[in-house]
Symmetry: C2
Amino acid sequence: MEAYGSAFKGKKVLITGGLGFIGSTLARRLVDLRADVVLVDSLIPEYGGNLFNIAGIEDRVRVNIADVRDEYSMDYLVRGQDYLFNLAGQTSHLDSMREPYTDLEINCRAQLSILEACRKHNRNIKIVFASTRQIYGVPDYLPVDERHLLHPTDVNGVNKMAGEWYHIVYNNVYGIRACALRLTNTIGPRMRVRDARQTFLGWWIRQIIEGQEIQVFGDGTQLRDFNDVDDAVDAFLRAAAHEEANGKVFNLGSAEVISLKDLAALLVDLHGKGEFRIVPFPEDRKRIDIGHYYGDYTAIRQALGWAPRVPLREGLARTLAYYTKHAAHYWELSP
Amino acid sequence: MEAYGSAFKGKKVLITGGLGFIGSTLARRLVDLRADVVLVDSLIPEYGGNLFNIAGIEDRVRVNIADVRDEYSMDYLVRGQDYLFNLAGQTSHLDSMREPYTDLEINCRAQLSILEACRKHNRNIKIVFASTRQIYGVPDYLPVDERHLLHPTDVNGVNKMAGEWYHIVYNNVYGIRACALRLTNTIGPRMRVRDARQTFLGWWIRQIIEGQEIQVFGDGTQLRDFNDVDDAVDAFLRAAAHEEANGKVFNLGSAEVISLKDLAALLVDLHGKGEFRIVPFPEDRKRIDIGHYYGDYTAIRQALGWAPRVPLREGLARTLAYYTKHAAHYWELSP
């Protein structure tokens, strides 16, 4: 299957969360494919948006600072777009428990208003929504495929589940082509490393570069899978380019499954120095921990020809190198 | 298994949607069980609340007119309650597509704020949430059990799914005991019959009593299951009384499965007169139709000893008799 052919050449593309980790990496790929790219981001300091993420492509994209909760702005911005990569979201599980309404506004209401804007002004758009494996909760079996029940463990998971299904409903009821990718842990340059709010691995990377000891929660045997951001971006582009994806949800995932303690050891090995320690879960994290997780990505492989290509070791090395060089742009609150 | 013993005697019970069909029937049973019952209802004219639903028990319950979207009122009302039967909701599938934000506010945000109120002021409450089989969408197999994937077909289904899962998350994370019942079509006196917004069967009942022809959409072979409201109420009480229900979702259902055209014929037979005609689906209904549905209620039977007892024929006859007598209180907008 041809990956995307000329699907994006000269096409108008909107990316919500476009200054974030995956959004900005997607933008880089899309400008290379000669798309006309608009990035929407609110640059909420605690979230993932960072203007440095588009360093070098500033002149090839248009940045529109706006919050996806802002109905009127979104109502305007979706018009005339060929593709919407809908990546804006509140992604912190702990924050979703502390501020459930904020999570609801961003992950549910804003998604609904983006879809309503498309229904009213641009029914020809194709939407790819960034969902998350988090909505599966504690796996009933491994690897987790798309037939696995959704039983989210926190408010964020519930809201992301709803956000995903609004997209599927609008695809099925209104014919607004939409699909969702359930991302697993995604790594790479531009991932959020300031704290552990979004991903523990970003935090580990910062700690190891700063010479601090990494803390591995639990007993360290918890299994996880990781996708390099370039592989995740490839999945978004395939899902956008192919009609077979419409109305579907697909897991991403990796055949390379690793325990948290082996991951910490790998980081130390790649960095050439550093330490990690296995410590008990803090209470607030234990309550929303999901144990082992790794996903089955057979469905997207069969439907869209996607498979992860970047080995974990290579992706981690590239990420460490990026942050060793660009720490100053990521350690503090953006922008 | 003892049904509920003295679980409700002298206990404080709050029912949201308490002036509606199931809420008011639950209230009748609870006052007989000597509970101290507060009914919360906003009496939104198009919804199911109707003061006539508590005719005869007005002096044995306390009615508090309030909207579940009103955070401050709910924040107060949950305090000191032993049980919350959480039945308030927007239940119209078509309305949810026309006014998705209203559906979101009632079925998601209000649910979250009720749970937040309990977290802050009454962690000892036990909550039973009224969910719906609608969240399964078009069945992958029959009968539908709780292992069936949720793939809602409309915004209402997405929001009810989220509302249900907020309850489970608050049970699991905060230990606020909660469970959900996925109701199927519920019938009985006090069901909403003014129009087809909530349930087609209510509308049929009104039409047959008014001497109008019933329209059966599709080819009439679609299968459905029905629960008598007394059986549904029994399920709510068992779920409240038994700790085994905490954190669980249970289907209700019936072994008596019937096609829509046989149901129409049964109504005509019971009423002694009337007509029905099979007509094509209107476009807006066809898009959210779910085909055949009937549920597997093995899980609640095994966990709580629940099974439906009232035969469909008997329930329908009782319902027809009720509306033949009390039409004046139900034909027009309440209150």
